[in-house]
Amino acid sequence: MEFKFTEENLTRIEQEVKKYPERKPAVMAALYLAQEQNGYISNEVIKEVADVLGITAEDVLGVVTFYTMYHQKPMGKFHLQVCTNVSCMLRGGYEIWDQVKDKFGIENLGITEDQNFSLEEVECMGSCGTAPMIAVNEDYYENLTNEKVEEILESLKSTN
């Protein structure tokens, strides 16, 4: 599918470029913007980012595959990220992981049929003191219990 940055996003990329002595470092920010606009990073996105920044598509692909926050397939409207690293694990991170998995019947990096929810097991998110946690898209939910998770998931469901 064809992908072109919106005018607004092109302006934002140019603002990012200004931070650096060359255009290439803006690739990370440009990919975030592309992901926001397109939902995920497709081959067309990679080509467009490369063209806009004057770098090769291989440079962009290398970045996309190195970092976990760029997705090469569509994710849900609500991307649920559950931390199961040590500090969360000690306070019930896996119980929450199982709970979310069971509720939606999806596995790691899976997506529900209605495309509303996707799930990812993530590494330490820096919420160790407020463990366990879930991040929904960009927002952290901390100090969780199974009851609180149920509440959050239900409220997300009803906002659809």
Binding site: M28, N85, L90, C128, A131
Partner: protein
């Protein structure tokens, strides 16, 4: 005790509140001195890096060349991805201007006109908070073109945030620079060191967020004052992040040299249900774990922890009570380092995978006593044989956990059976070979 980094002042994150509490006065003072004076004071203060290696900050700055045609750069490392570490986000949230002021002073000291604050991508909220603080500082003329009037100086610097995208390795300084250049975050071979050949081949200094946030107070109150706080060889306060099995997990700012048992029992409220402690990781998961029965008298600073055969790391204290499944914990840690290995060096790329596979086999009840030796052998083959310190970070927890909790791991594996070599090799494969069945 007075808090240096996270004082109890309401709304300190607002620039007006920060200014009314003496904020940006240290920067004004710094600009009346030479850059060499600033470096000298920070050196004498004994400030050591808070990112894990505890290297002298002033000494690091002094490596920057005085005369060069190239631009110089400062990177402030807020990648904060070490499991058990959650301190930098407190600075972004509670006291961002002190870090910004520290960045301005550091830029002046090393002669950098541009500073990048590298923040992990997951910290969307904290990136927004810091960006707001930076925008406010620009508006008030503490950064950028207006510095000339504000500080009566010819020096000018800019501060930008660079958002990461989910890679633990980017907290390693050379990997951070590659990531900032818009590349895959592969660590670089050292030497050359960043002070000679850093960002875009130019002289670069990389300091942790917490390190930088200490700088304004050292300039304001003098190096003597700072050097008298806490342990003389590792002075100042540290932001201890306590997590795991404690009643009050959180970040506690305490002088270096504070007793580990005080941190756990006095500040973090002790262990729930008064259970005994089985194991404590003192500075983030890559540091050698300590046995619960050997915590008495252990002090939390770089020198004392070295004596206790561990390391201060990022000050992320993870407490595990007597009912913790250590094999599960170690398998989870091994999974983390396997997942985060960048794949450049064979010992790390392959070794971390083996560590995880062997530990998962033990966890499934299919391990044998020789697996414990195998774990240590593999760990030893990673350590020291990689470009960056992720090798050590992956090897240490496994090696020291197995050595220090030998009895615990022995109880979880089956007795060794005499198998031909072919079977031994087979036992290293991914499939968890049921050794116990072979015995029958």
């Amino acid at each position: 005790m007075e808090k240096i980094l996270l004082p109890d002042i309401e709304n300190l994150h607002l620039i007006d509140v920060y200014i009314s509490n003496g904020g940006y006065e240290a920067a004004k003072k710094a600009f009346t001195q030479t850059s060499d004076d600033i470096i000298d004071q920070v050196k004498k203060s004994g400030l050591r890096g808070r990112g894990g290696a505890a290297f002298s900050a002033g000494l690091k700055w002094s490596f920057m060349p005085k005369t060069t045609d190239k631009p110089k750069y400062l990177c402030v490392n807020g990648d904060e991805s070490e499991p058990g570490s959650f301190k930098d986000r407190q600075i972004f949230e509670i006291n961002p201007h002190q870090m910004i002021e520290g960045t301005i002073i550091t830029c002046y000291a090393i002669g950098a006109k541009t500073a990048y604050v590298y923040i992990r991508g997951e910290y969307h909220k904290w990136i927004r908070l810091l960006q707001k603080a930076i925008d406010d500082a620009y508006e008030k003329g503490f950064i950028g073109k207006k510095m000339k009037e504000t500080f009566n100086t010819d020096f000018q610097c800019d501060i930008y945030i660079h958002k990461g995208a989910g890679a633990y390795i980017c907290g390693e300084e050379s990997s951070l620079m590659n990531s900032l250049e818009g590349k895959r975050g592969y660590p670089r071979v050292k030497p050359p060191f960043p002070a000679q050949n850093g960002l875009w081949g130019c002289p670069t200094t990389i300091n942790n967020v917490e390190t930088i946030a200490n700088v304004p107070k050292i300039i304001e109150k003098g190096w003597e004052w700072f050097s008298k706080i806490g342990h003389p060889k590792h002075p100042g306060t540290l932001l201890f992040g306590v997590s795991g099995h404690v009643n009050k997990p959180g970040v506690y700012e305490l002088p270096t040299g504070t007793l580990l048992t005080d941190i756990i029992y006095k500040y973090a409220g002790g262990v729930p249900n008064d259970k005994k402690i089985l194991c404590v990781i003192p500075g983030g998961t890559s540091m050698p774990p300590l046995r619960g029965d050997k915590l008495e008298g252990v002090k939390m600073d770089a020198e004392s922890l070295k004596e206790a055969e561990s390391a201060i790391g990022t000050g992320g204290v993870i407490v595990m009570d007597e009912d913790t499944d250590l094999v599960k914990v170690l398998a989870r840690i091994a999974h983390f380092y396997h997942h985060e290995s960048c794949g450049q060096c064979t010992p790390c790329r392959e070794g971390t995978g083996w560590l995880e596979k062997i530990l998962k086999r033990i966890l499934a009840g299919n391990g044998s006593t020789s697996d414990l030796e195998l774990l240590i052998t593999v760990a030893n083959q990673i350590e020291g044989n990689t470009i960056c310190a992720l090798g050590e970070a992956a090897a240490w927890p496994v090696k020291y956990m197995v050595e220090r909790f030998r009895y615990y791991f022995e109880a979880r594996v089956n007795d060794e059976v005499s198998l031909p070599i072919a079977n031994k090799v087979h036992s290293m494969r991914e499939t968890s070979y049921p050794l116990a069945d072979v015995k029958k």
